[in-house]
């Protein structure tokens, strides 16, 4: 078993922050807004290990800090404190100590991200194929024919009609946009993929196909994934282990079947009991 990511004490604060922020917010205070300085403690003291090929679920309602966690790891924002080490083959990369060029390089080559909102992950002004080409170009694939061939393969793999690869993704359905986003994220065969509410808002049948696709990719490529969702069904289907978050804290973590069948925390019990 190879560790691919080790996160320690990851915290994020929006606002000035004060010495009392962490001790006056969290589930026991039922808020993530610091009463002393008004800052929002979006995330506090998140720690976990992720192994090669493993899918980790992060579950919680809106505002629980789950998206903040992946946004920090994908460098969409820098955390307030904490560390994360990415074990990339023989190298160890301390994520938050890298310079901007190194961060960009990891994002372009070694990480993939699929956002809930395809607007964030895709450039809507260029074609579906162009979106993938963009990512391939950033990882130094320069030959036009090769790029086009790879884009075609990836879109076929994610079941996007390749006849439509020259169309703008804004003309696609939501499910199709998600597939293009997944194809783009996979273009460089990254060992680590972040999935932020990727099926939220899609029709059930479309959701099912996206989830199938994610499982197939994991089996085929042994990609490690962090799946952020508020949907217990998605967690049940995809994740081997799960973290449950509330007010920026992990309130419970465990094997997914244990979280769902023997939840320990009052909040998790309530979540599981209210699932359809």
């Amino acid at each position: 078993m190879n560790k691919i990511l080790e996160v320690k004490g990851l915290s994020q604060v929006y606002g000035p922050g004060c010495t009392l922020c962490f001790t006056s917010t969290g589930p026991e205070f039922e808020t993530n807004i610091c009463p002393h300085c008004g800052s929002i403690v979006a995330l506090h003291d998140l720690s976990f290990d992720l192994y090669k090929g493993e899918i980790l679920g992060i579950m919680g309602e809106s505002g629980s800090g789950k998206s903040t966690a992946v946004k920090c790891l994908y460098f969409d924002q820098m955390p307030y404190s904490g560390s994360a080490i990415f074990y990339d083959e023989s190298e160890q990369q301390p994520l938050f100590k890298l310079n901007p060029a190194q961060r960009r390089s990891l994002r372009n080559h070694r990480f993939g991200m699929v956002y809930q909102n395809p607007n964030l992950g895709l450039n809507f002004d260029i074609s579906a194929g162009g979106n993938i080409a963009e990512r391939l170009l950033m990882s130094q694939v320069m030959n036009y024919r090769e790029i086009r061939e790879r884009a075609r393969e990836l879109l076929a793999r994610t079941e996007v009609l390749t006849e439509r690869m020259d169309e703008l993704p804004k003309n696609f359905s939501g499910g199709m946009q998600q597939r293009v986003q997944i194809a783009k994220a996979l273009a460089t065969q990254p060992p680590l993929l972040f999935l932020d509410e990727v099926t939220t808002g899609l029709d059930l049948s479309v959701q099912a196909k996206i989830l199938d696709l994610i499982l197939e990719i994991q089996a085929e490529l042994d990609t490690a994934m962090i799946v952020v969702t508020h949907d217990l069904g998605v967690i049940r289907l995809l994740a081997g282990r799960t973290l449950v978050m509330k007010y920026g804290r992990v309130i419970e973590s465990g094997l997914t079947d244990q979280i769902l069948e023997d939840p320990q925390h009052a909040y998790t019990q309530q979540l599981v009991a209210s699932a359809l």
Partner: protein
């Protein structure tokens, strides 16, 4: 001959705490048992005695409340399953501990052959071989070939149960937990299941099983452990 057990359960208790009702629900209480390689230990007792909770605690679907679950690893070390890391448990589930639950839980839309072969895929065995071995086992359990390429969602209770059993047995785990694997089977199918379980025993799998019928305990069990309903539940 004194053999070292594959699994020793010592003073296992499981209680649930329901926060909303501020209530403690006792399930298994002070359970002691051993499972040996190549033998089957049957767990008997009335409904509510916590038989399924014992199996789920061993598989770590439940977090044991107290007690030790001492498992002999392939490397010859003793591991307390109650305390083992989540990654370690996941690895054991992939490689050596199987669980046939009462109800079949599968990925939606997955074909029956792949459902059964999944434990082999997880061990890195390729699809062709996995599917061939799944087909053999399904034939042995009398699941007609026309169903193999269909997801088991629409199957009858008995068919689902056999698919579940085939999946649990295919990888010949070192330790297999069986929760009423024959509850909805007819007599002739039950005979096939019994033959299969006996073969896996002869192959060295250690089993801990809950059976619906006393008759099956008689036919398959080498050791019998009886649980009583915890005092607070009666």
């Amino acid at each position: 001959m004194i053999r070292k057990p594959l699994l020793r359960v010592e003073n296992l208790s499981k209680t649930f705490f329901l926060h909303e009702q501020n209530k403690v629900i006792p399930s298994s209480s002070q359970v002691n048992l051993s499972v040996y390689s190549g033998r089957l230990t049957a767990l008997i007792g009335p409904t509510g005695a916590g038989k399924s909770s014992v199996l789920k605690s061993i598989f770590r679907t439940y977090l044991p409340s107290s007690g030790r679950l001492l498992y002999e690893t392939t490397a010859g070390a003793t591991l307390d399953l109650a305390l083992a890391s989540e990654h370690h448990i996941l690895e054991l589930r992939r490689q050596e501990i199987g669980f046939v639950t009462q109800f079949l839980h599968t990925l939606p839309r997955q074909k029956t052959l792949d459902v059964v072969a999944m434990p082999l895929y997880q061990q890195g065995i390729d699809r062709t071989e996995g599917r061939t071995r799944a087909a053999e086992l399904l034939t042995e359990l009398n699941i007609p070939e026309r169903l193999w390429e269909v997801p088991p969602a629409t199957f009858s209770g008995g068919e689902k149960q056999r698919v579940n059993l085939a999946r649990g047995l295919i990888a010949s785990p070192r330790l297999l937990l069986l929760d009423e694997p024959t509850a909805s089977l007819d007599a002739s199918t039950t005979d096939r299941v019994v033959a299969l379980i006996q073969r896996k025993k002869a192959h060295g799998t250690g089993m801990l099983a809950i059976f619906h019928h006393a008759d099956l305990v008689q036919r398959l069990a080498d050791d019998v452990v009886e649980l009583a309903v915890p005092a607070a539940n009666t």
